[in-house]
């Protein structure tokens, strides 16, 4: 019962076998998701750094082999791309959501300084696929399929594997995550290999809706759902993704909003299902609106993220009203993650019962 949705001009698998089964597998074992809707662009040349620096919201000084998780902003401070920026021996690999590869290339070219034009952009999304393995035992799947050294790959770093693929350790689910960028002609073999070895780790094929569901449960930004009109990294609690020292496209607005923030993205747990885009009231007054709502598979409760007036945008408050339903604000992440308790040096899927895990509900 595959469910699909459209992102840009691509038809993407949203669910393969069902959201509940897929989210459960993400939290307890591992899932395999095709993320080929993401833009993949290589920026190379002597001026690659200078061309990117004005539009990358974070510090661009990254060591070779390391990854920066950052944003591209519009001039009004709104996020337009959620970007993994990888330093590949002086070239930069951009792996992004929110913008198609073509638009990403145009964005880089349009904002490159006039004295920094000696660079080239290569769109890799037409020749490559991205397969992502996520979950508390994702490391075991990729290590079994592609080499044991991957179990030790530090978070936000990348490497070449099997002489052909790029493996980025990153993710947006709160669990161990590995994005494997493979040439189109090799991707089917890679996928087959992952599924074959993943069987003993209960690997499940999943759709993009599973990762998006997990993002809400973990209080993580989803540019496809949470890029609220008029919101900057200040309101979206993404200031950690941007530099507070350098100027970049949109930084003036970010600095201005930091002086007096008026609203903030806040996480809510409801007593009954919550409606997306609904008005949020507190003590009889309108204080905001729901941005995304769902019934959390992991928590077993309705949850939402809402943009709330700053006076009430605090964790630990009860008495929010969304329609006829009451809700309370809570600290993200809303769930505890098994990945936090799994040590690849000591644990394995086979011996997972020995892992001291307090449970998925954090008790907030």
């Amino acid at each position: 019962m595959t469910v699909t949705l459209r992102i840009g001009d691509r038809e993407i698998v949203a669910e393969r076998t069902g959201l509940r089964e897929e989210v459960t597998a993400l939290r307890r074992s591992a899932i395999l998701t095709d993320l080929s809707h993401m833009a993949v662009v290589r920026v190379a040349g002597p001026d690659a750094y200078d061309a990117l620096d004005p539009i990358v919201a974070a510090d661009l000084h990254i060591r070779d082999g390391r990854v920066r998780h950052t944003l591209f902003l519009a001039p009004n401070g709104a996020p337009i791309a959620d970007v993994y920026l990888c330093n590949d021996d002086g070239d930069f690999l951009l792996v992004a959501e929110g913008m198609a590869s073509g638009a990403l290339v145009e964005h880089v070219r349009a904002h490159a300084p006039t004295n920094a034009r000696d660079f080239a952009c290569e769109d890799l999304s037409t020749t490559h696929r991205i397969l992502s393995v996520d979950g508390p035992f994702a490391w075991e799947v990729v290590a079994a399929a592609l080499g044991s050294e991957l179990a030790g790959l530090p978070y936000l770093s990348f490497c070449r594997v099997a002489g052909a693929h790029t493996c980025i350790r990153a993710g947006k689910t709160g669990e161990y995550g590995y994005h494997l960028i493979a040439r189109e002609e090799l991707a089917a073999d890679l996928e087959g290999r992952l599924l074959e070895v993943g069987r003993r780790m209960d690997l499940v094929q999943a759709g993009i809706a599973t990762s998006w569901h997990a993002a809400v449960e973990n209080g993580l930004f989803n540019i496809h759902r949470h890029a609220v009109e008029g919101a900057t990294p200040v309101e979206l609690q993404l200031q950690w993704r941007v530099s507070h020292k350098k100027k970049y496209l949109g930084s003036d607005v970010v600095v201005e909003r930091q002086r007096a923030p008026r609203e903030r993205l806040t996480w809510l747990i409801g007593e009954a299902p919550l409606a997306a885009f609904a008005e949020v009231r507190f003590e009889g007054e309108r204080v905001g609106r729901v941005i995304e709502a769902l019934d959390s598979v992991t928590l077993g409760a309705p949850v939402a993220c809402a943009m709330l007036d700053i006076e009430v945008a605090h964790s630990g408050l009860s008495g929010f009203e969304i329609g006829e339903t009451r809700a309370r604000s809570a600290s993200a992440p809303l769930v505890d993650n098994l990945s936090m308790y799994v040590n690849p040096g000591r644990h394995s899927f086979a011996t997972r019962a020995e892992i001291e895990f307090p449970g998925f509900v954090r008790g907030t």
Partner: protein, 100 residues
Amino acid sequence: MSGGRRHGALVAERARIVAQVKQILVERVHLDVPPEAIDPDAPLFGTGLGLDSVDAIELVISAEQAFGIAIPQSKVKQSLRTLNTFVDLILSYERQKSRA
């Protein structure tokens, strides 16, 4: 206490602790971020604020001294996810103390 006053008191109580923990992050852990740029739900480790295990020890010890509490090792991993989750823990201890 009326709903409005209770809400105001809860927010003020939390805001006080948030401000103190931010001060610890900047002055004791030497986080190179201005307090107003520290998102309450930003991850403390890895991505996010980028603290490491040494920073975690300093944060816990400084918080114990500042708030007069003892944080057991068993609570550290779950509570040190974000500034907000750490403040949740501190708040729970402070409320226990005030009830005792």
